[in-house]
Symmetry: C2
Subunit: 403 residues, 2 copies
C-alpha cells in the first residue's frame, strides 16, 4: 500500500487533480492532471532510448513547435503506450484533445505522460472517462493526489520544493516524480513534473532544466536499464516576478538542481526491492565526466550492490568496477572509504588495503544512506551518483511484472 503523500502544493499558478480510471487495478489513482491558470512556458528533457513511447514523441513535437503557451500536463500510470505504433500515437493525440476540450484550450497546449507496461494499447475508453472525471467533483484535488497517481512499482510518492528570490520577490519551485525500476543515467522509467512561478522564457527554462537533469536524474541508477518513456517537464507560470538577469538565472538553476537532486535521491532510495540509498562519491578525477564514468560503473555493479545489501565490506568489487569503467585510472593512486565525516572508515590507500575494523566497515554499509567515497588521485574534479542496494526482492518484483 502506497502511503499518502504529505500535503503538498505546486507553484502558484498551477493546480493538480487525480482520479482512478481503471488503468491500474484495485481502484488506485492512475490519471493526473496538472493545469496552469494561464498559458505558461515549458521545457522538457526526454529519454535518449531509440525506442521512444508515443507520449515522448508527441511532447517533443509539441515543445518543438513552441513551448510558450502550455496549459496542462495529463499523466497516466498503468500503461506506457510504448511500442504501440500509429494507434499508440493516435491515442496520445486523442488524450490531449480530450483534455483540451475539457479545459477550453488547443490540443497543442497539452503535454502527455505515460508510464507502465510496454507494448499494450492504451485503453481510451478508460482514459476518456477519466478525463471527464478529472473535471468533476469526484476527482481528488491537489498535487499530493497527482503525485500518487503517476506511481507504478514505487512504494512512496516523491515530491520536492525549493525557494529563492528573483528580483527581490519570492519564487517557488515545486515538483514530483515517479520511478523505481528501469532507472539509469540518461533517465529511467521516470517521470517528473516541476512547476515554478518564475518568469522564464522556454529557452531559459530548457537551459536550466538540462543543467539540473545532468546533475540529478542523470546521476541515478537502479538497474542499468533505460526506459522508453523517461520525461522531465518544467513549467513556469511567470506569476512571481520579472524575467531574471544572468546572475539570477544561475541561482534559479541551482535551486532547480537542488529540487531535482532531491527527487533523484528519492527515486534511488525507492529502487525496486531497495532497502537503502547508496551514494557513490568519486573525487580526485581529471574531469567531472571521468568522475561520473567511474561512479556510474560502481553504481551499476550488481556485485557492489549485493555486497552493500549484505553489509559485506567486499571493497575489491568497488575497485574492480572502477577499473572496468573505461576511465584511465591508476590503481596505485586509489583511496577508498565507507561512510562520511568523522565516522568514515578508510579501507584502501594507494590501491592497497589498510588495517581497518571490518565490523565498523560492515556497519557503515548497513546505514541509510550508505556512502562510498573513492578518490582517484588524478585531479580535482568530482561527481556523485545515487543508487540503491540490490535485494532478492528486486528479482521477485521483476520476474512476474506482466503476468
Amino acid at each position: 500500500m502506497v502511503p499518502d503523500a504529505q500535503p503538498f502544493d505546486l507553484a502558484p499558478g498551477f493546480t493538480a487533480t487525480a482520479v482512478a480510471c481503471g488503468l491500474k487495478s484495485g481502484g488506485a489513482l492512475d490519471l493526473a492532471l496538472i493545469a496552469a491558470g494561464h498559458p505558461c512556458a515549458a521545457a522538457g528533457v526526454f529519454t535518449t532510448n531509440r525506442v521512444k513511447a508515443a507520449p515522448v514523441l508527441y511532447d517533443q513535437e509539441v515543445l518543438g513547435r513552441g513551448a510558450g503557451d502550455i496549459r496542462a500536463v495529463i499523466a497516466n500510470a498503468g500503461c506506457a503506450n510504448a511500442c504501440t505504433g500509429a494507434p499508440g500515437m493516435a491515442a496520445t493525440r486523442r488524450t490531449a484533445e480530450l483534455v483540451a476540450a475539457s479545459l477550453g484550450c488547443a490540443p497543442g497546449q497539452v503535454l502527455v505522460l505515460s508510464t507502465g507496461v510496454i507494448g499494450r494499447p492504451l485503453d481510451m475508453d478508460k482514459v476518456a472517462r477519466g478525463v471527464a472525471a478529472l473535471t468533476s467533483a469526484a476527482s481528488l484535488r491537489g498535487a499530493a493526489a497527482a503525485s500518487r497517481a503517476i506511481l507504478t512499482t514505487d512504494t512512496r510518492p516523491k515530491t520536492a520544493s525549493a525557494d529563492l528570490a528573483l528580483g527581490g520577490r519570492p519564487v517557488a519551485i515545486r515538483g514530483f516524480a515517479k520511478g523505481a525500476g528501469m532507472i539509469h543515467p540518461h533517465m529511467a522509467t521516470m517521470l517528473a513534473v516541476l512547476t515554478t512561478d518564475a518568469a522564464l522564457t522556454p529557452a531559459a527554462l530548457e537551459t536550466a532544466l538540462r543543467s539540473a537533469v545532468g546533475r540529478s536524474f542523470n546521476r541515478v541508477s537502479v538497474d542499468g536499464d533505460m526506459s522508453t518513456n523517461d520525461t522531465v517537464l518544467l513549467l513556469a507560470s511567470g506569476a512571481a516576478a520579472a524575467p531574471p538577469d544572468a546572475l539570477e538565472a544561475a541561482a534559479f538553476t541551482a535551486a532547480l538542481t537542488g529540487a531535482c537532486v532531491s527527487l533523484a535521491k528519492q527515486i534511488a532510495r525507492d529502487g525496486e526491492g531497495a532497502t537503502r540509498l547508496v551514494e557513490i562519491a568519486v573525487s580526485g578525477a581529471a574531469s567531472e565526466a571521468e568522475a561520473h564514468t567511474v561512479a556510474d560503473s560502481i553504481a551499476r555493479s550488481p556485485l557492489v550492490k549485493t555486497a552493500v545489501h549484505g553489509g559485506d565490506p567486499n571493497w575489491g568489487r568497488v575497485l574492480a568496477a572502477a577499473g572496468c569503467s573505461g576511465a584511465p585510472i591508476d590503481p596505485a593512486r586509489l583511496t577508498l572509504a565507507f561512510g562520511a565525516g568523522g565516522e568514515a572508515v578508510t579501507l584502501v590507500q594507494g590501491g592497497l588495503p589498510v588495517g581497518y575494523d571490518e565490523r565498523a566497515a560492515s556497519a557503515l554499509l548497513k546505514r541509510d544512506p550508505v556512502r562510498i567515497g573513492l578518490d582517484l588521485g588524478r585531479g580535482e574534479a568530482r561527481a556523485t551518483v545515487w543508487t540503491c542496494d540490490f535485494s532478492a526482492e528486486y528479482v521477485a518484483i521483476n520476474a512476474h511484472y506482466t503476468t
Copy 2:
C-alpha cells in the same frame, strides 16, 4: 557439492594434477598444475580491467619476453591475489619459482593463475606446501581434478574438446575453464586453459586465440562485472604435426573457437544463481559489432533476465534494452521471436506486437536454453551473446561472499 568432472584428458604432451592446500575451506581441491612434457608455445588473453591482479601482470610479462618455451601453469582458487601490491607480485613470482624448482625449469617458464577474493594476501605457506604436494603421490592426477581445483562459486566443472586434422594428422584441442560471477564481455572472473598438440608459433597461437575469445568468452555476460583476474591461456606442445599452412590455421582457429564457445556457454549456464542458459541472437545488423552491441545490451538487462527467470514474456523490456544499446536501430524495423526453428513464437514485427499465444511464449522462456532472437532489419550481420536468467539466489550468493 561440486560434482566430479567426467573423465577428461588434456591434449597429448600435457599432464595435470591437483591438491587441496587450504586456500579453500573444507579440504576442497584448490591448487592445480598443468605441465608440458617439453617446452611449448603459449599465448594468453587477459582482462582489460585497469585493476589487474598480480598473476595477470606477471603472465603478461612472461609472455611478453617470449612465449616459446613454457613448461607449466600453476593455478589456485580461493584467493585472487588482486589489489595486493608489491607483496602480491612477490607472492606470484615465488609461486612460479617453487614450481620451477620442482619441475627443474626456469621460473620464467611458469605461468600463474589465481581466482577468488580480491584484496587478501596469498598465503604462501599453504601454496608452498601445495606445490610440494602436487609432485607427490598425494596429488590427484588428471585434468578432471585440475578442472575442479580452479572453481570458486561454480557449481560444476567446465571442459571442452575439439578435434581436427592438420597436415593429414589428427590434432586435439582440450581445455577447461571456471567462472560464474563477475562475468562480462571482455571476460570475467574467468580462467581458462586450453592445450593442443598442434605445432604453432606463439604468434600464430595468439592470432587464433584472440579470434576465438572474441566470439566466445567475450560474448558471455552474467552480471556485467569484469574481473581483475580474467585469463585465457593456450598452450601448444607441437607433438602432433608440422606447422599448418594458412588454410589449416583457419581450420584450427575454427576448432578452437568451437571449444571456447562450449566453455563460454558452460560459464553462462552456471552463472551465479542461474537456472538456465539464455542465448541472445541478434541478426539483420549493419555490422557484426552492431549486432554484438545490441545483444550485449539485452544480455546485461536485469529486467530482461528477471523476466526470463519468471517466464514472463515481457518483450517490451527486450526492445527497450536494444533501444538503449547506443546502436542506431530503427524501432519500426524490429522483429522479435522467442525459441528457435519450428517452435519459434514471433512476438513483434515491424516494431509492433503481433497476436501471439502468451502461454506458448512463456513456455519458451522456461526452456533451457532460452533463445531470444531479434532482427534489426538493417543488414546481414549477426552475433550471439550468452547469458543466464537472474534469480534471487544470485543476491543470496553475493550479499555475503567475504563475510
